[in-house]
């Protein structure tokens, strides 16, 4: 049974229809939320709220887009609201990872290289948190979640040209903020 049929059955109150939809998309929505917050409990809470919103909004779903795209749109908007609220409460300090060794010397051992890479992964996420929400959203969708340009266009309801230019500005800002921590060889990746 495809998504649209399940949506129709869920709207008509058939038990199990919405549960099937949830089980089909729970991992994707959870991973999307995790890509933004990097915390399992917070991502779980966000994902649950996304599905509650979707359930309550089911009567408004017209089927113009695919259910998955519609659900992703709800998820992205919900996460954006969450990020705005969190941004008001928290100022991220870059000082705490300023001295991380992002690049390894020639003689460094494999284990230390791996540790440096782990630190770089954490650092890039912390820098990502400092970006404006619209840049953070597009970077997460493209570079963390690996969605295609077409999928991003449909989810964010923006033109392919806007996706391209916004992604460029977002990556540029991220690189500029990461730049002090990257050496001449770009961190050795």
């Amino acid at each position: 049974m495809d998504d649209n049929e399940l949506v129709e059955e869920a709207r008509n109150g058939r038990p199990g229809a919405f549960e099937t939809l949830v089980k089909r998309y729970e991992k994707k929505v959870f991973h999307l939320a995790y890509g933004f917050v990097q915390d399992s409990a917070a991502a779980d809470d966000l994902a649950q709220e996304v599905f509650v919103k979707a359930y309550l909004a089911l009567p408004k779903f017209k089927g113009k887009s695919e259910f998955g795209t519609w659900l992703y749109r709800i998820a992205v908007n919900h996460v954006k609201d969450h990020l705005r609220k969190v941004a008001r409460r928290r100022e991220v300090s870059l000082e705490e990872f300023r001295d991380f060794p992002f690049a390894a010397d020639d003689g460094i051992k494999a284990r230390e290289l791996q540790q440096a890479e782990e630190r770089r992964k954490k650092a890039v996420l912390r820098v990502l948190e400092t970006l404006p929400p619209k840049y953070r959203v597009i970077l997460t969708l493209r570079d963390v979640e690996g969605l295609s340009y077409e999928e991003i266009t449909r989810i964010l309801k923006i033109s392919p040209g806007t996706v391209d230019s916004r992604l460029f500005r977002a990556r540029r800002m991220l690189r500029q903020r990461m730049s002090p921590h990257l050496d001449e060889e770009g961190g050795g990746l």
Partner: protein, 163 residues
């Protein structure tokens, strides 16, 4: 090629959306430009760090927890029932509005005889305040009272007591 353009093409190249002729032009530029080579290295490092994030595991009993949350939300927010039924309620609301508009439109007009004196005066384009001001201008109290009595008598429309 300018460095700004090369920067855009570097990112498109990483996304695999750069055409082959542009890729050749970019490679030529990168051979000559150390700044753009550095930028490419930094972009590659940053994007690789983003793409290589460890995957998290979904927490258990997701549906069971969600189901109770939905039930709780429905209990707390009865307006959600309205949201569900609002589309079906629109034709009923339109029917009711049509009924009231029709009732008002087909109601017979109010006749002149049923009007109050101020309303009748207004309909004749006369000022009811100027009519009553003469009462207050009268100095003798017995004349004033007679004028008020005559004005209040519905059987004598248009008649006035003249002292």
């Amino acid at each position: 090629m300018r460095c700004r353009e090369a920067e855009k093409w570097v990112l498109r190249s990483m996304d695999g959306t750069l055409s082959s002729d542009r890729q050749s032009a970019l490679d030529e530029h990168l051979d000559r430009c150390p700044n753009c080579r550095k930028a490419r290295q930094e972009y590659a490092s940053t994007i690789a760090a983003l793409r290589g994030q460890p995957a998290a595991e979904l927490l258990p009993y997701f549906w069971n927890r969600l189901e109770s949350r939905i039930r709780e939300r429905e209990r707390l927010e009865p307006w959600t029932v309205w949201t569900k039924w609002s589309l079906r309620a629109i034709p009923v609301a339109l029917l009711l509005i049509g009924f009231f508009v029709g009732a008002i439109a087909f109601q017979p007009p109010v006749s002149d005889e049923e009007m109050s004196q101020p309303a009748a005066l207004l309909l004749r384009n006369a000022n009811p305040l100027s009519e009553t001001s003469t009462f207050f201008d009268e100095e003798k109290s017995e004349n004033k009272n007679m004028m008020i009595i005559f004005a209040g008598d519905e059987r004598l429309p248009g008649r006035r007591y003249l002292p």
